[in-house]
């Protein structure tokens, strides 16, 4: 695909154009927490950050969403799909979080085509931003990603100092480019060289690594009853940080919220780290302690998911490790698994 170049001092013009015709989500910092928010001013968008606290997954898969409304047993107004608004652009996605959408696509488009997610996904353009200063717990290169990985994205911008290098990766990205074509110049061969060497330099800054996905998938097949799990998960507090801040965790619950016979069916994120996640109506719980719950989370990511979809459900963003209040360091844990 063709590459383009955007002078740094015109970068804001690109955002202005995006805000005008699309709904633009961009990384925004508030009280030191970085999350993707709908922005109205280009100045609110962050360009320099290692990664967001909260991944952008909630834009396509909201933490709480109404599936439909009802009165008594009558469903009213049919199934509510995401409203047909303007096209959505998520700007400034780190390559790991872009790959995460590609991974999650498998589950939402599997045996049941999830109209809510897929509809939003089809109407959203993902504009990535290559990493420049990876965080200390980033380990994307071990998960087949990298600071300039393109998978899952529609466009990728790379900061070359006085200009941004833009790669158009899909038709969706191409259409968005064409709407704003006058802002971009064709990239020179020297730009491409500079971008490639920068990517290598940034990649060398990543210090943490684990074994390959294939090795991990194979290794975990033999470890199910190992005592390692009990020792490791003893310090887990059973909170939902690792799942809720994970860009690929996608489990949800559905509940009816009813007042005076009127209500709505709501879908909300759920966490396999919670006790009631597997609690049966009978009172039986097949994952009664944190040992089974913690083990299941890792098995789901590195064994069951690749068994089903040929792709590991982890992108190496390191958020689970960074935010775990009991320091269950996933990278250390995966390394330990390799040593057993």
């Amino acid at each position: 695909m063709t590459a383009f170049s955007l002078p740094r001092n015109e970068a804001d013009d690109f955002l202005v154009a995006l805000i005008e015709k699309q709904s633009l989500f961009a990384p925004v910092e508030k009280d030191s927490i970085i999350s993707y928010q709908l922005v109205a001013n280009p100045g609110d968008a962050l360009w320099n950050f290692s990664n967001s606290t909260v991944p952008p997954k909630g834009i396509l898969f909201p933490q709480t969403e109404t599936l439909f409304k009802f009165t008594g047993s009558e469903v009213s107004g049919g199934i509510e799909l995401p409203p047909q608004e303007k096209e959505t652009v998520i700007f400034g996605i780190r390559p790991c979080d872009g790959r995460a959408f590609k991974i999650v696509d498998h589950i939402f488009g599997w045996d049941y085509q999830d109209p809510y997610y897929l509809e939003r996904r089809a109407r959203t353009v993902l504009v990535g931003l290559s990493c420049y200063e990876p965080a200390s717990n980033c380990f994307c290169t071990s998960l087949n990603g990298g600071p300039s990985s393109k998978e899952g994205l529609d466009m990728l911008l790379t900061d070359l100092g006085d200009r941004y290098y833009l790669e158009v990766l899909t038709d969706k990205g191409g259409k968005l480019l064409n709407k704003n074509r006058k802002l971009f110049a064709l990239a020179l061969d020297s730009d491409t060289k500079e971008k490639n060497s920068l990517s290598k330099k940034v990649e060398s800054k990543l210090k943490r690594k684990v074994m390959s996905c294939d090795e991990l998938q194979k290794k975990m097949g033999d470890l199910k009853e190992h005592k390692f799990w009990e020792e490791t998960s003893l310090r887990c507090l059973g909170c939902g940080i690792c799942t809720y801040l994970c860009p690929t965790c996608h489990c949800f619950d559905m509940q009816d919220e009813v007042t005076d016979g009127k209500g709505r069916r709501v879908r909300m994120w759920d966490s396999c780290m919670f006790r009631e996640y597997t609690l049966h109506a009978s009172g039986e719980n097949p994952r009664p302690t944190r040992v089974e719950r913690f083990k299941n989370r890792l098995y789901h990511k590195y064994k069951y998911y690749p068994d089903s979809f040929k792709i590991t459900a982890c992108v190496g963003c390191g958020r689970c490790t960074r935010y775990c209040p009991a320091n269950l360091d996933l990278i250390d844990i995966l390394t330990e698994i390799g040593k057993i």
Binding site: K30, S35, T53, S136, K205, I241
Partner: protein
């Protein structure tokens, strides 16, 4: 002064050697500035234990966290004690748990460590984003750091957790063994809270509404809290469902305020809720406000004496009633 690391390891080794001790709960260094809670079961394990201003975790939570499954047939209940390291604030959680009959004193071997305050690790990570191996030693008002072989000195006041710069109880109030030298107390200061109290209800609502709106309901604040140990939490109940799982300002506010009220006269101010919150919600401010009220209205402080009755189970005729409308 003897090396605190040696004192800690010696203390842990003696405890773990006892026939009536199951394991020693302590801290072990992780990657970069991180420190992990650690269960030491053998003398060899105790070599991995440390104590430094990076040891933020209040280990008391692990006394009540363990799920108790039915024992297999003919298996005997393991009645051995748990040995654990406690800082000043942690020891108050232990006292409160004992006072509430959440745990019994003779189930524990308490290893007290005086603490000069713990560090807000995110501030150090911002200064040294690529640190791999770190050693931290407290030297009076300074923190002497060795980051990947390079030595640095940082004034502690700049990087302490907020609750530590106001700490009244740096020294454990309950222990079987005290390891290390006692530290100087600081004076409690409710200045920030008093300033907030003077604001109008609208201003207060704007402030907290903004914070609660970003709560993701991961329940880390509840799960890390040593005094949130109900077997069946109201938040997990489905029938009746008191709090909806929907994440919005209304439900989030109910959750946050309910937790705060449930901890009134019980919160001992270890600040773990605030440290754990990935969304930067200053949960501790709510607890400090109620701590101040309880102190001013009823001259009561939790987690000081294991014989003390809980605030809500004692009535004194002279109790303040000005707040009753």
């Amino acid at each position: 002064m003897r090396n605190i690391q040696k004192i800690i390891k010696d203390g842990a080794r003696k405890a773990v050697a006892r026939d009536d001790v199951k394991y020693v709960l302590g801290w072990t260094p992780g990657y970069g500035f991180r420190v992990s809670p650690f269960f030491a079961r053998t003398a060899e394990d105790t070599e991995r234990l440390i104590f430094s201003p990076l040891c933020a975790n209040n280990l008391t939570i692990y006394l009540t966290l363990q799920e108790k499954l039915p024992l297999p047939k003919a298996a005997a209940l393991d009645k051995r004690k748990i040995a654990l390291f406690v800082k000043g604030c942690d020891s108050r959680a232990v006292i409160q748990l004992i006072a509430e009959r959440g745990i019994s004193r003779d189930e524990l071997v308490i290893l007290g460590v005086p603490c000069g305050g713990v560090i807000d690790i995110s501030k150090l990570e911002a200064k040294f984003p690529q640190a791999i191996k770190v050693e931290a030693v407290e030297e009076g008002e300074k923190l002497s750091l060795k980051v990947d072989g390079k030595s640095q000195e940082i004034p502690k006041e700049d990087i302490l957790l907020k609750k530590c710069s106001l700490c009244e109880y740096p020294n454990p109030l309950i222990y079987d063994v005290l390891l290390g030298e006692e530290k100087q107390k600081k004076t409690k200061d409710y200045q920030g809270i008093s300033t907030f109290e003077e604001k109008s209800p609208n201003e207060k609502w704007t402030y907290w509404g903004d914070k609660f709106a970003r709560c993701i309901r991961c329940y880390a604040c509840r799960n890390i809290c040593p005094l949130c140990y109900c077997d069946s939490c109201i938040l997990d109940k489905l029938s009746p469902q008191w709090i909806r799982r929907s994440v919005n300002l209304s439900e989030n506010t109910v959750f946050q305020l309910l937790r705060t009220f449930h901890l009134t006269g019980r919160c001992i101010g270890c600040g773990e809720c605030e440290r754990a919150c990935p969304m930067g919600i200053p949960v501790g401010e709510l607890n400090r406000k109620l701590e101040k009220d309880v102190r001013e209205l009823f001259a009561y402080e939790p987690g000081i004496d294991i014989e003390e009755k809980s605030l809500l189970s004692q009535f004194k005729p002279e109790d303040s009633e000005d707040f009753i409308l």
